[in-house]
């Protein structure tokens, strides 16, 4: 009899199979899956990090605390980080310095603060190239930095997490904090974009 060549089941059926096996063992608390999906999409959003950035722009004491101990500072604002993310390093961009975060080994981020990583952050192109060809990759992504701007790449290889504190656009100085939070994007907190008009 010839060997039967079987294809993998479609991935959605594999997920459903694991979920059913867990259900049959009573491992899944009622509502857990739907609640999780809701939290992932409604609570782990870049608005959290944006609020921390806007606070740092308008409150020098908070800015100092955020740069000294990022996790304690974002918790002041009511945000949470998983227990195993013991430390949040906040990287301050300046007009002459661009910090960029990545995870070459998998796709780690401070997802509760800057939101779940976008697809491109997890793709092999970004993971393989951004550490070695940072200026080229940023230019391809629309951020064409002058040669005099220094680039620092941060590879997330431990459970310490990183976020970028973008430069406040000069013309927005004096605006109220809640309006400032509206212009801060996830990309600017990953470090692949600067904040320039027109704002989102």
């Amino acid at each position: 009899m010839p060997d039967e060549v079987k294809a993998p089941a479609p991935v959605e059926r594999r997920v459903a199979a694991l979920e059913q096996a867990f259900e049959e063992r009573n491992l899944i608390p009622a509502g857990f899956i739907d609640d999780f999906a809701h939290i992932a999409q409604e609570d782990w959003v870049p608005v959290n990090g944006a609020k921390a950035v806007a606070r740092a722009w308008t409150d020098p004491d908070f800015r100092r605390r955020l740069l000294e101990n990022g996790k304690a500072a974002v918790m002041e604002l009511g945000f949470t980080m998983p227990e195993h993310h013991k430390h949040l390093v906040v990287l301050e961009n300046t007009p002459s310095l661009q910090n960029v975060i990545c995870c070459t080994l998998c796709s780690c981020t401070a997802f509760t603060i800057i939101g779940l990583p976008p697809g491109w952050y997890k793709d092999f192109e970004y993971r393989s190239r951004v550490a070695r060809q940072s200026r080229t990759v940023l230019r391809e992504m629309g951020l064409d930095l002058p040669d005099e701007v220094e680039i620092k790449v941060w590879d997330t290889t431990t459970d310490t997490r990183y976020m970028v504190l973008p430069v406040q656009p000069p013309e927005t100085v004096g605006r109220p904090e809640d309006k400032l939070a509206e212009i801060v994007t996830k990309e600017s907190m990953i470090g692949v974009a600067r904040l320039e008009p027109p704002y989102r």
């Binding site: 079987k6 294809a7 993998p8 089941a9 479609p10 991935v11 059926r13 594999r14 997920v15 459903a16 199979a17 694991l18 096996a21 867990f22 063992r25 899944i28 857990f32 899956i33 999780f36 992932a40 999409q41 195993h84 013991k86 390093v89 070459t104 080994l105 998998c106 939101g115 779940l116 990583p117 976008p118 697809g119 491109w120 793709d123 092999f124 192109e125 993971r127 393989s128 951004v130 550490a131 070695r132 060809q133 940072s134 200026r135 080229t136 990759v137 391809e140 992504m141 629309g142 680039i151 620092k152 790449v153 941060w154 590879d155 997330t156 290889t157 431990t158 459970d159 310490t160 692949v192």
Partner: protein
Amino acid sequence: MDGVHDLGGKQGFGPVRCASSRTAFKAAWEPRANALYSLGVRLGLINMDEYRHSIERMEPRHYLSASYYERSLTGFTTLCVEKGIVSQEELERLAEGLFPLSLPSAEGRLNAMPRESFAVGDRVRVKNEFVSGHVRMPGYIRGKWGVVVGISPPYPFPDASAHNLQSQDERPYDVSFRTEDLWPQAADQATVHVGVFESYLERAR
């Protein structure tokens, strides 16, 4: 392990496709897969290090062709099977098709003994070590010199924790490397900062 997951500095990949993939989830099964893995962490079925290693152990062609959440599902399910929570046969019966899993693990290792502590500003070298089990040292820093710029709180030592070996928690250091030292003549000028566990480091002499 020197696996295909260790992508930093690998050449041949094209431009980042940023316009097409801004959202975190692309299909309805993805948050469900993510929820099951998260439940596994919450129930204490798995730790983060064995989860990451379970993904690295995927057959390379499967790893490179699978999406992020398929890799997550494959790694987490592999651990559930290895720990006897479910069997592959049961899952394949329920899925009505094959359920490919990751390949078996090599042996883990314990913390380096003795280890040195470092301070911000210290010049350090990443040991020239080759580790067949789990390790969180990207290959591109192996044997390279750098400068300590930050110190994190102690974490479980991944090389042991991923294999459920008892070990001491240890501190990783943010170490700054120059791209011209990492990839001479073939990189954009920048510094690359990597979180490097104490066991992987020695003092520059």
